[in-house]
Symmetry: C2
Subunit: 406 residues, 2 copies
């Protein structure tokens, strides 16, 4: 007997027929003697619709009211899932964030979970009931509904699995697991059977959409055994494990990409002490995250150029923040370019094998793909390239590191 | 300065543009110095959609989960309305049933309000904030969300107006007030400027859809001044008042109808003591409400016929309940007929003027409309007729009682 948290994403509960269909997976495990708790997202499209309405209303966005509106999506699916399980003859009960409660801080729309009161859920599990929890939401100490930010339901599921000491947290989604690359771009991509948490954190934060970065980090910190599985095919999926549980480590585990990037270049920046702080301070104040940064000399050493990347939706805000700080910074021009993509290779193996970067650069150079920015860490190498070359680059790297299936 | 509760129905908040539009009515009153609290329904169609999903899921319907699902509709509009008011530069805050709380009994899907904790709302009003309350919902002592049944948002609004000692409860809807008859059927129908609570209770329960019967009863009991107004036209609407505030009373105030009726006839019933209880006991046990009842002798006195009406959606359940009790009752046959309609005249004036019923019967007889069942009370006379004659009957009665506008 195992204790399993089942998490179903939006496409897995996109309508009543889907809710009924994925419920049978829970029923099967339960009938086999397992304890089951379920965490649900909103029906696919619902959160976008609710989000859209809050923006359409106009005015300054009050995040407290935003959270009240969008949290309704998971409330609906939690109730429907409980009904679906009941229709299979099982005892099931929905639980909203405020009902357990799931305590969060009061950073509305991007709240962090502080504590999950799981006693009631433990009690229900002991009575062979199936608790169905609305993902993505909690309650602040003010008594207002909070949400965890987009993709927060994965985080809810992992947090609940940790609170319940679950044997496994199964994240059901519309793909069959984590792949060596996006199968829509690389048809020869293979499902990864076991991946280290650290690698998954990198893949998730570098563009792989299958799991939320926060959820993976939380799983790693709490030792939650996470499995990514298909809601629609009965295939094994991908298991997240500790590094030492992976027997034979490939050099590169996966190739990923993100088109949601924008490049900003400041030319003719006066090179004086504190200039970096004068550029990135205003961006931080605006809540703009800067990813890759390159500084390059020019004009005989007195003037330099700065190139950095932000997510595409922050581009205009970043330009404005820099323009507003023009006097403090001192620069000639700022150029923004959204036609860029970040392509990354990720793998624990690259720590111990030299030449990994060289293979990447040579592979892209052979195809005439220009590297605009390079950024590396222990587990990954990312390059910024022209957006139109994204697919070619991903396919070429996937082949170059021997990831293509036979 | 007045304290006003504004209630907006589903068609008044059917999309974001409508929410913004009706919000301006609140803004206007607020800027003129009034205190304003707002109660909202779900967007038109939302409750039906959510209700439909819960039925589509199948299985026995658990009313606790039903309530969790459908209450999401008002949650969404409460948040959106708060945002709309904020976008006009006002302070506004949404409040869900569990947040005040609005305590109800635990009769899910048809809960009754027990107590509204209004202290927080009073406090916010004093600070010139506009509380926006989700209608239709409350919380049971079990901590689960309850809903008040269809149309329950009117009841929420009146209850909140009572709890706040509001000067007025303005029910904004998609019609310009209460009319002497349904204007879609009787083009010459007139808006009623002032109507007695008692008359409105009858009109509402006999088919007029403009206000929920429960809400009117609650307003009457608590002396809440209710005004029914158009969300879309700046017209005076209809004011609910005490009987003695109406100067000149028409004999008949309004003509109304309901097509949502079914007639059941039991023939050859053994006439013995307790036979009525043996028929209506099983129906009550099934939760079927019986409206009009006629008992008629036949077969030389030993056997009698019973005719009674139920709402159309209960017809099959009623037939089954009677069939199941066939041995206890003893009857020849049961015939069900959904092609009937109930047409009613309502008016305080008919208490003191004789001949009102005779005018009704003669008017219908002239047109060859057969009366299948007649039911009277102090304030109304209802007749059951063939459904196809509904519109003709309503128009004829409207004219006969001098209600047609000049």
């Amino acid at each position: 007997m195992a204790r399993i948290v089942f998490k179903f994403g939006g496409t897995s509960v996109s309508d009543v027929a889907h809710v009924r269909r994925v419920a049978t997976r829970v029923v099967k495990a339960f009938r086999a003697g397992d304890e089951a708790a379920v965490v649900v997202s909103a029906m696919a499209g619902t959160t976008d619709q609710l989000d859209h309405w809050t923006r359409e209303i106009g005015g300054m966005m009050d995040a407290r009211e935003y959270d009240t509106v969008v949290a309704a999506g998971e409330q609906i699916t939690a109730g429907l899932m409980a009904l679906a399980l009941q229709s299979e003859g099982l005892m099931a009960r929905s639980w909203l964030g405020w009902q357990l409660p799931i305590e969060t801080d009061d950073a509305h729309a991007r709240a962090r979970i502080r504590h999950i009161h799981a006693a009631e859920i433990e009690d229900r599990l002991a009575r062979r009931e199936i608790p169905v929890l609305a993902g993505f939401q909690g309650i602040a100490s003010t008594g207002r509904i909070t949400t965890l930010g987009r993709g927060g339901s994965d985080t809810s599921a992992v947090a609940i699995a940790a609170a319940l000491n679950a044997d496994r947290c199964d994240i059901y989604t519309d793909v069959e697991g984590v792949f060596t690359a996006d199968p829509r771009i690389v048809p020869s991509a293979r499902r990864i059977e076991r991946i280290a948490y650290e690698e998954m954190v990198e893949l998730a934060s570098l563009g792989a959409r299958v799991l939320e970065t926060r959820a993976v980090e939380m799983a790693m910190r709490n030792g939650v055994s996470v499995q990514v599985r298909s809601s629609f095919h009965d295939t094994p999926g991908t298991l997240l494990v500790d590094e030492d549980e992976i027997m034979e480590q490939d050099v590169v585990t996966g190739v990923t990409y993100s088109r949601d990037e924008a490049k900003l270049t400041l030319t003719g920046v006066h090179d004086k002490p504190g200039v970096s702080a004068s550029i990135f301070g205003p961006l931080a104040a605006e809540g703009v995250n800067v990813d890759m940064i390159v500084q390059s000399g020019s004009h005989g050493g007195e003037r330099i150029n700065y190139t950095f990347t932000v997510v595409e939706r922050d581009m205009e805000r970043a330009v404005r923040a820099i323009e507003d700080a023009r006097n403090e910074i001192g620069f000639d021009s700022i150029v923004a370019d959204a036609n860029v993509a970040k392509v990354s290779i990720v793998g624990l193996g690259m720590r111990t094998r030299p030449g990994v970067a060289q293979t990447m650069f040579a592979t892209l150079a052979e195809r005439g793909i220009n590297l605009q920015v390079i950024s590396t860490s222990e587990l990954k190498i990312s390059v910024l390239i022209d957006e139109t070359a994204t697919e070619e680059a991903v396919r070429a790297l996937h082949a170059a590191y021997g990831l293509d299936s036979a």
